[in-house]
Symmetry: C2
Subunit: 155 residues, 2 copies
Amino acid sequence: MLRISKLTDYATVILGLLAADPDRQQTAAEIAEHTQVAAPTVSKVLKQLQRSQLVTSSRGLHGGYRLARPAREISAAAILDALEGPVALTACSGEHSHCDIEGTCSVGGAWQRVNRAIRQSLQEVTLADLAGLDAGSTHFAVFDVKLRNGLHEAR
Amino acid sequence: MLRISKLTDYATVILGLLAADPDRQQTAAEIAEHTQVAAPTVSKVLKQLQRSQLVTSSRGLHGGYRLARPAREISAAAILDALEGPVALTACSGEHSHCDIEGTCSVGGAWQRVNRAIRQSLQEVTLADLAGLDAGSTHFAVFDVKLRNGLHEAR
DNA sequence: GAAAACAGCACTAAAATAGTCCCACATTTC
DNA sequence: GAAATGTGGGACTATTTTAGTGCTGTTTTC
């Protein structure tokens, strides 16, 4: 239920690695080696993270990536947004959209409220929490995301 | 992000219809007609809901479906569980699972906490809320579920 | 015993996701 | 200024997941 994609999973791992050593700039290849994620995939993820301003990059010899801001200021919601798109709600949730079944449905609005609630939870979780830095601060409520076939596969 | 499947979307609409008239037993064909969902699909969804004890069915002539219990006692989490599987976390979340990258990762546990939080939100939302019955009780927090290509498609 | 309606299963098709590759552009070093 | 190193972007392919359909069996009522 409510699964998050593999790429998002990778992203958290990659960001976690960067967060562990925020001053050092790391190349995509180094990150791939440390995380065991295939290099092209790491690149892809990093590019997306760069576009969303979660990491900064520098090109050229001795280039690489690093966190754009402290781990504590990066929310789980921001990571999801970066990887899974702008989260424009495609459906009923849109401003002026209409259902084919408006009459009998009446369900639409509630999902949006649910949606907003979960989103709020996600905003309160930071990369620092996810990466296990900042040990004392796990005051946020939490739940069950299906991470299937991901890095976190059982072996 | 965090999308729910079309079938789950259908399920809420179907359950909403049943909830609107809890005393009457309705056939799959009737439900299909009212909801504009294709009949075989309605059947499929209802079967799954039956297996999860959210609706009761009776066979034979004059058979049909009805809610197994009041709308207020059916949580959104239960609906998701029914449609999207037993939500056994396939990953790190399992009891004795290990990551290939245990050393560098450290992200695993936090997702489970996030997961539990969202799940809790979902448990506080009932079918009555979703169906818009029970007008006063929308005290639950809420968020952004991507319902794409579903019944709720904009037209 | 015939008709109506659910139950279960398997199969097909379509769509989303994940992953890979290639080439262009930017820096730095020599 | 040329070469090496590394990111940037896009296109393409393959895999997986999801959605949808059809068929056969079982139960109940009349």
